[in-house]
């Protein structure tokens, strides 16, 4: 709706008048600089100045066109007036909106691929610590899973399904420079993120685009705009959203005893176990072991419920804060944008104990200068975009069962107190950590001590400088030659102190030391393109050709460590120089390498042609040829073509009658992309040096130099190719209030690069081969509704994506790639695997058919021949399914149990605005996936604690049909990897809820401040799920990057309550 205020004046139509006026924005009533004002049907026009004012000589009967990016354009007849003031309204569906495509921009209405464009302010509004987290649920087809809830842990991003078991990350391009990820950017630095999902859009990135491309544009200034300074900040309080409940001391003893009784053993004599502490008695004077047992026993008698280790490692009300200042502006010939921001997020786990958390400082400067121009266009322009980031990340262990602090806390028995004063008094431990309860087991270790010693003396900082400098030359109108040199550099250092401690037979270290390391790396990219675009009547043609070189320039790390500190126990002095002169070779360790010194890079040729007829029919074709040093000469070059077409049906005459449809475009594209992320030199098996090697002579403990051929050579290894067909529709209906996008795709990875297992007789490691195919098929849809009722504006957006992943071939006889073992518990078989006909990383194991409830069912659980399946089967045992009915439960009975990859991912966004109040909500959900869960190493550590989930165990007929009877030792019921560990993990999360108020209207008289916004928001407010773990979003896949969905005690995402302030000056 147009709000037009006019001031009439007398004058004659058709006579030249000097017209002037002010253009303001309906959003904030502020003047709009840079608005284009053109007399319809002519080239006569101007733009508004800093104050939104324009002046133009026009004839009295002229019609003016006012247009500005992101605003609804307006046509206004002059009607003889001399002043026409205009208020422009923002437009959710701006027909002139441009989006970033590879090596350029394009009008959104003309794109023929499946792309997503997200504005920086939408990202910043969600207050996530990294930008990719904010895209979760808003970008259908882009699956974003937080690695875990730890600050700085990053995200796992998969575009349209896993296409490889190798590196499946998309290619990230920031202002034209390829970077590893974009976690180094603050959301406030980002102008927009464009995700290229289909092959045709990504094909211009050729060799590296098989997993899709994420294009990030950082904030730029704009011409003729006075400096605008903004401050955005928030302070948040984080807490664990949902806790697990380990057994308390009494429950623990009860459950442990039940396992023993089930095995025909006597219940434990807990008093004797606690007071039997040979290690403590033997290693320290004063029968301290007995005293510790007596202290614990005494507390238990007085009702002590034991230690809740989860509570002990958790920090309440952990803080999170972010501050960002941005300046943008520009004159006629110079534009600039600068930003500085700081994020400090404390960890909810280990925040107290090891000061766990993530700190990031980012500084950015983007500028552009026009050096030479003529009346029509700029001829020479130079510019730069640079970002510097400094990060400090102190983290707790979040890996497998050997490196996971939360898991350690879950499994530790509750009988051990966290701290014990005599530990300090008797010089056992200066922090008072309670030592081992030796009588219970020699294997258990105080998890607080473990967390403290494992992480606390690590001090490291990382830095990153990313950016480019460029020159743009437009020698004749519409021919733009651009050359850009970009760098992605990183450097940093770390140091740590190895302390001494002695807290148990299996937990002691009596040698201390210091280690230091530093690293430095850089890749540079030199890109040169020439683009020409011209309208020939109704035919618009755009062509672009270019070259690109990417060089791995340096990638070095040096470091070392020495034992025996000169200042023992004080981390302040933990430098290598502050250690004693070494007496033995084993006290020194050093390393140093530059992995880029041997060369390596990519060399590319790019060409693209685009054509449209009246913006009604669109065609484009792209080809990129890439040479990669990762392959042998002769196999280096890959050529990646693509074709796309679009048809805007609503431009056709026959559509004029269908008034409900405002805009509709049909799109189809096909293209090929590549993947080259494999280590270098795998084509030319080399002699590898191993350490240690073999020990000849009397040189022990140092081995002699030892070498052997590393792997079977495969000189033929070459590009992995992914091919994708995409068909889509974009439409706007009902006066553009409803927007619909729909896409269908089929992505086939061919010649998938993998190390397929080979026969042992080859005598060396398996080669990489182009050895398999993977197919991903899916649909994606977005529905957006945008309307207002009086002063109440609201919008609703719903997106959904479905993907089906299937491995269609693996080029070895086995057809299988097995995942790691010892995942759920030490001593258990693999959980995840890759197999032909199945989705990547599916769960593999025994199917169960409930439990044997009573003797009748035990007697009925027999082989086809009528024999019991197990000689010792009894009530409470698991009924494993004999899939092939061969009378034994063995490997051949294992089947696909579940799939960690969701079938459906959805996102819902709700927004509402009433006068100066506003509210937003974001929901994200994933459906159709499973999680394998184990919170204890059940096959080898029987004294480990349970969560209260164990109360649902079988302990008599009808008490459970899933959790078998308890046992105090190793038992097939639990040791066979089966679906008793598997849980559905569907969820719908209220990931963000924000309420805010704009003070802009109150500040119209204050020049210095143009707007103030205050808001409060909650992230991770509530999760609707049937999953009983801390978090159903489980990216962890043990030691295989292609696996996921394994919950061993997953660092949960915090629920954060934030208070934010934005000020525009």
């Amino acid at each position: 709706m147009l709000i037009l205020s006019t001031v009439f004046s007398l004058g004659l139509f058709a006579q030249e008048v000097t017209l002037s006026g002010v253009v303001t924005s309906a959003d904030d009533n502020q003047p709009l600089p840079g608005v284009t004002v053109v007399v319809k049907g002519t080239t006569n026009g101007t733009v508004t100045n800093f104050d939104g004012v324009y002046t133009l000589k026009v004839s009295g009967d002229a019609v003016l066109l006012f247009s500005f990016v992101g605003m609804k354009p307006q046509e206004i007849p002059v009607d003889g007036r001399t002043q026409v003031d205009v208020v422009l309204e923002s437009d959710a569906f701006d027909v002139d909106e441009v989006v970033v495509v590879g090596y350029g921009v394009q009008k959104k209405a003309l794109t023929t691929g499946a792309n997503i464009n997200v504005k920086g302010e939408e990202i910043a509004a969600l207050n996530t610590s990294t930008a990719m987290e904010a895209l979760q649920g808003t970008t259908p087809g882009v699956s974003i899973t937080r690695n875990n809830g730890q600050p700085g842990a990053g995200t796992k991003v998969t575009i349209r399904g896993l296409g490889t078991i190798g590196d499946s990350d998309p290619l990230y391009i920031v202002d034209g420079v390829a970077v590893g990820n974009i976690d180094y950017l603050n959301s406030s630095d980002i102008e927009s993120i464009d995700v290229l999902k289909d092959a045709a859009s990504a094909a211009i990135y050729g060799s590296r685009a098989a997993n899709g491309v994420v294009l990030v544009t950082t904030k730029k200034g704009s011409k003729n705009k006075k400096p605008m300074v903004t401050y955005d900040g928030y302070y948040g309080i984080q807490n664990i959203y949902k806790n697990l409940d380990p057994l308390n001391a009494q429950e623990y003893m009860y459950i442990m005893d039940e396992g023993r009784v089930n095995d025909g053993l006597a219940p434990n004599n807990w008093e004797a176990i606690l007071k039997n502490n040979a290690w403590l008695n033997n290693n320290f004077p004063g029968e301290l072991g007995t005293q510790l047992g007596e202290d614990i026993w005494g507390m238990l008698q007085n009702g002590w419920e034991g230690t809740n280790w989860i509570d002990e490692i958790t920090k309440q009300d952990a803080s999170m804060q972010s501050h960002a200042v941005n300046i943008t502006g520009g004159s006629d010939d110079v534009i600039y944008s600068a930003g500085i921001s700081y994020l400090d997020q404390t960890g909810i786990i280990g925040g107290d104990i090891i000061d766990a958390g993530y700190k990031r400082l980012t500084a950015r400067l983007n500028t552009e200068f026009v050096l030479y121009k003529n009346d029509e266009h700029d001829i020479i322009t130079i510019g730069e975009n640079f970002t510097y980031t400094n990060t400090e990340n102190r983290s707790v262990g979040t890996g497998n069962i050997y490196w996971n602090d939360l898991h350690d806390a879950l499994v530790q028995n509750p009988l051990m107190p966290a701290y014990w004063q005599p530990s300090i008094d008797n010089n056992i431990n200066e922090y008072g950590f309670t030592p081992t309860l030796d009588g219970l087991s020699t294997g258990q270790t105080n998890p607080i001590a473990r967390m403290y010693y494992r992480h606390n003396y690590n001090y490291g900082k990382g830095n990153k400088v990313t950016g480019n400098a460029y020159i743009k030359v437009e020698p004749i109108k519409d021919l733009v030659v651009r050359s850009s040199f970009g760098v992605d550099a990183w450097f940093g250092y770390g140091r740590s102190m190895n302390p001494t401690y002695s807290l148990g037979l299996l937990y002691n270290d009596d040698v201390d030391g210091a280690s230091q390391n530093q690293y430095f790396g850089n890749n540079w990219t030199w890109t040169t393109t020439a683009a020409y675009g011209r309208l020939f009547g109704d035919h618009k043609v755009d062509v672009l050709v270019g070259t690109e070189l990417l060089k791995n320039q340096i990638n070095m790390e040096v470091g070392g460590s020495r034992n025996n500190l000169l200042f023992p126990g004080d981390p302040k002095y933990a430098y290598i120089n502050n250690t004693q002169s070494p007496e033995s070779i084993s006290e020194i360790n050093t390393w140093g390498a530059d992995w880029a010194a041997g060369g390596g890079g990519l060399m590319s040729y790019i060409a693209r042609a685009q054509y449209n007829f009246k913006e009604r029919y669109m065609f484009s074709a792209t080809v990129r040829a890439d040479g990669s040093s990762n392959f042998a000469e002769g196999n280096r070059w890959g050529t990646f073509p693509s074709f796309a077409a679009g048809w805007v049906i609503t431009e056709e005459d026959f559509m004029d009658d269908i008034s409900i449809l405002d805009f509709a475009k049909l799109r189809a594209s096909w293209g090929q992309n590549g993947n080259q992320s494999i280590p270098n030199f795998i084509y030319s098996s080399q002699i590898a040096y191993v350490f240690p090697g073999y020990f000849f002579g009397d040189t022990k403990p140092v081995s002699g130099t030892t070498a052997y051929p590393e792997r079977v050579t495969n000189p033929d290894v070459t590009w992995e190719k992914s091919e994708q067909l995409n068909i889509g529709v974009d439409a706007r209906l009902l006066d553009s209030r409803l927007a619909v996008t729909f896409d269908w795709y089929k992505k086939t990875t061919k010649g998938w690069l993998l190390e397929a297992p080979i026969l042992g007789t080859f005598g060396a490691a398996a080669p990489y081969i182009n050895g398999g195919d993977i197919e991903n098929t899916g649909v994606e849809m977005v529905f957006g509704w945008n309307d207002k009722v009086g002063d109440f504006k609201y919008n609703v957006s719903f997106s959904a994506a479905y993907n089906k992943n299937e491995v269609t071939s693996i080029a070895n006889t086995d057809g299988v790639i097995q995942g790691p073992s010892h995942v759920l518990s030490q001593g258990t078989a693999a959980v995840s695997r890759v197999e032909v006909g199945m989705p990547i990383g599916f769960f593999y194991g025994y199917e169960t058919d409930g439990l044997l409830q009573n003797q009748d069912e035990v007697d009925a659980y027999v082989t086809p021949e009528g024999n019991p399946y197990f000689s010792d089967q009894r009530p409470g045992d698991v009924r494993f399914v004999d899939q092939n009915l061969d009378g034994v439960i063995d490997e051949d009975d294992k089947i696909m149990l579940g799939d960690p990859n969701p079938d459906w991912e959805i996102g819902i966004q709700l927004g509402a605005e009433f006068k100066n109040f506003y509210a937003n909500a974001t929901f994200t959900g994933k459906f159709g996936m499973q999680v394998m869960q184990s919170y204890r190493s059940f096959a080898d550590n029987f004294d480990q604690n349970y969560t209260t989930g164990i109360f649902d165990r079988w302990h008599g007929e009808g008490t459970s049909d899933r959790l078998p009877r308890l046992s105090s030792s190793s038992n097939r019921n639990t040791n066979f990897v089966s679906d008793i560990y598997m849980h559905d993990a569907d969820y719908l999360r209220v990931s963000n809820l924000t309420f805010g108020y704009n003070f802009g209207h109150l500040l119209s008289n204050i020049d210095a401040i143009s707007n103030v916004r205050l808001y409060t928001s909650v992230s991770n407010l509530y999760t609707f799920t049937g999953y009983d773990g801390m978090d159903p979003e489980v990216a962890f896949g043990h030691d295989a990057s292609w696996a996921s969905g394994i919950d061993l005690g997953l660092y949960p995402q915090a629920r954060t309550v934030m208070f934010g302030l934005s000020v525009e000056f």
Binding site: D510, A530, S584, G599, V702, T705, P709, L759
Partner: protein, 558 residues
């Protein structure tokens, strides 16, 4: 136009700075040293069950399964069960890794010219001979490891041999082993052991190859006669010829007379417990060792860093310390000593282990107490003079009260400080982890075995009586039964008993016994269940069968 095509395809050329090229390797003496070490490196297996010493001891009738309730796999192997798929896959693949590395050396060295590195052409030739001979020996060593555990295997003897062929027969496999050993003996120089420099200790030599030929001959002829029912007394060669008993006895005689190897004067000085009092500077750490004046001979050959000099040990798997930070960082430490150590008891000088392989009490009970090898081989728990007075029972399964003493964790207090592994203190190693501290070599072959094999092949008593005399026992007349007894006592827990039972055809009867044991505090019966259909062979790795698309056949009974 500013197109940057100035640099051509050479922009993509890369140079590998962190490895040597396969094409130019094996051309200098340094290359050879590294490459030979690479062959030996394949002796280590990541999976402990694929470790030859561990597997053979668990299978033998003198060691039980043991371990804790979770150590199912030890009990399965001990009881001839295998619900797992790939118990011996590491043994398989590491052996073939070793064979491939040896094949490359044998082929490439023959072409190489080392003359510029030596003063004379003869010296260069001698160097070449030692390399080729050693590679031949190691190829035979790996094929022998495969055939005695798994039966006939595909023979790959050249770099470009096809790798996807079917299994050769047992006889064909032995013929290749015998030919390689014979050629190794003929190729390597006849340098007596005392003249071989300490820096070469650990390398195989002519004498080792001769000793192994004796072992291979006895195993093949015994196996074919008693397991396959194809009575034979000759060892076939790959070229169609064969080696008779007297041929092999001739090699062993050469070894006995000319190798310079000798028996250690006191059997007990072969084992590291004989050094613990000396290392600790305290005669009360192991009172029994002090009373018997024990003093270790060491483990770096005739001039060891620690000990008095060892002329008996001929071929070993060398071990040092491990580190969890290394790739498979625990394979470089002797896990036999860790796994067969006393479970959940950390005593001085016998440290904690995982309690695998408790000793059959029948062995203890039947062994003459006058034989010093009895207490020299078996640790009697609860015996204070043996340093095991503080033993607490009921910590593991199959407990009998006895563990082996030859390969066990040894530790003592460091100058009034903490208790640390003896080897950690000897070598001043920084990482005191009790799982990684076993730098004791595993002895594959020692001179006593050569004497016993010579007796067995020739049916004479001399060699056997030399071994008895060293133990202070009277001479006896030769009989196979006497020899069997002698081998049991002399070589107990050294990974040979299982193979002796198989080749003698005694394996069927050896397991007909029931023992009273304690399983983690519970009285239980122990009765191993050998199945005759397996013919002394272990299960073939299932994954290899699948990867071969069924070309490999599983062994009978598995």
């Amino acid at each position: 136009m500013l197109f940057t095509t100035g640099c051509g395809d050479e922009f993509l050329d890369t140079e590998n700075l962190y490895g040597k090229s396969l094409d130019t390797y094996y051309s200098t003496p340094t290359d050879m040293e590294e490459a030979i070490a690479g062959v030996y490196n394949a002796i280590y297996t990541p999976n402990v069950h694929s470790n030859e010493s561990m597997a053979a001891n668990l299978l033998s009738d003198m060691m039980l399964g043991g371990g804790g309730p979770d150590d199912k796999s030890a009990k399965w192997v001990d009881n001839f069960e295998d619900p797992l798929e790939d118990t011996y896959r590491d043994l398989w693949s590491q052996s073939y890794n070793g064979i491939a590395r040896a094949n490359a050396i044998i082929e490439k060295t023959a072409e190489a010219d080392f003359s510029t590195f030596f003063a004379s052409a003869e010296e260069a030739q001698e160097f070449k001979n030692q390399q080729i001979g050693e590679a031949l020996f190691m190829r035979a060593f790996f094929y022998f490891r495969l055939v005695k555990f798994l039966g006939g295997v595909p023979l790959i003897t050249a770099i470009d041999d096809p790798k996807d062929g079917p299994r050769n027969t047992i006889t064909e496999t032995y013929a290749q082993i015998a030919s390689d050993l014979k050629l190794a003996i003929e190729t390597m120089p006849s340098t007596p052991f005392p003249e071989i420099p300490t820096s070469s200790y650990g390398h195989a030599n002519k004498w080792v190859a001769q000793a192994y030929l004796g072992r291979v001959y006895l195993y093949y002829t015994g196996y074919m006669t008693n397991m396959e029912g194809q009575s034979t007394d000759v060892l076939p060669l790959a070229d169609g010829g064969s080696l008779s008993a007297s041929d092999v006895a001739g090699y062993l005689s050469d070894c006995i007379n000319n190798s310079g190897h000798e028996l250690v004067s006191d059997f007990r000085n072969l084992w590291p417990y004989s050094y613990v009092n000396i290392s600790a500077g305290d005669t009360t750490v192991l009172p029994w060792a002090h009373e018997n004046n024990l003093s270790w001979v060491g483990q770096d050959g005739h001039s060891p860093t620690f000990g008095t000099g060892n002329y008996e040990t001929m071929f070993v798997q060398r071990f040092s310390f491990g580190d969890w930070g290394w790739n498979n960082g625990n394979i470089y430490t002797n896990r036999l000593a860790l796994f067969t150590g006393v479970r959940d008891n950390s005593m001085v000088p016998f440290g904690q282990g995982w309690g695998w392989c408790p000793i059959n009490p029948n062995l203890w009970n039947s062994w003459d107490a006058e034989d010093p090898r009895k207490e020299g081989s078996i640790l009697e728990l609860g015996n204070a003079a043996q340093g095991a007075g503080g033993y607490e029972a009921d910590k593991g399964d199959h407990e009998t009260g006895f563990f082996n003493k030859k390969y066990i964790a040894i530790q003592h207090r460091e100058n009034g400080g903490d208790v640390k592994g003896m080897f950690i203190q000897l070598y001043n190693w920084g990482n005191t982890d009790m799982q990684l501290m076993h730098a004791q070599d595993f002895i594959f072959m020692r001179f006593a075995d050569v004497l016993l094999m010579h007796s067995e092949i020739t049916g004479t008593a001399d060699g056997m009586n030399r071994v008895r005399a060293r133990a202070g026992l009277d001479p006896v007349a030769y009989s196979l039964d006497a020899l069997k007894q002698e081998r049991l006592y002399e070589l107990a827990f050294e990974g040979l008993r299982w193979f002796d039972l198989v080749r003698w055809g005694d394996v069927e009867s050896a397991f007909n016994y029931t023992l009273d044991v304690r399983n983690s505090g519970i009285d239980a019966k122990y009765s191993p269940n050998y199945r005759s259909e397996i013919k002394g062979l272990m299960p073939f790795p299932e994954t290899e069968v699948r990867l071969s698309n069924g070309v490999y056949e599983q062994n009978p009974g598995w």
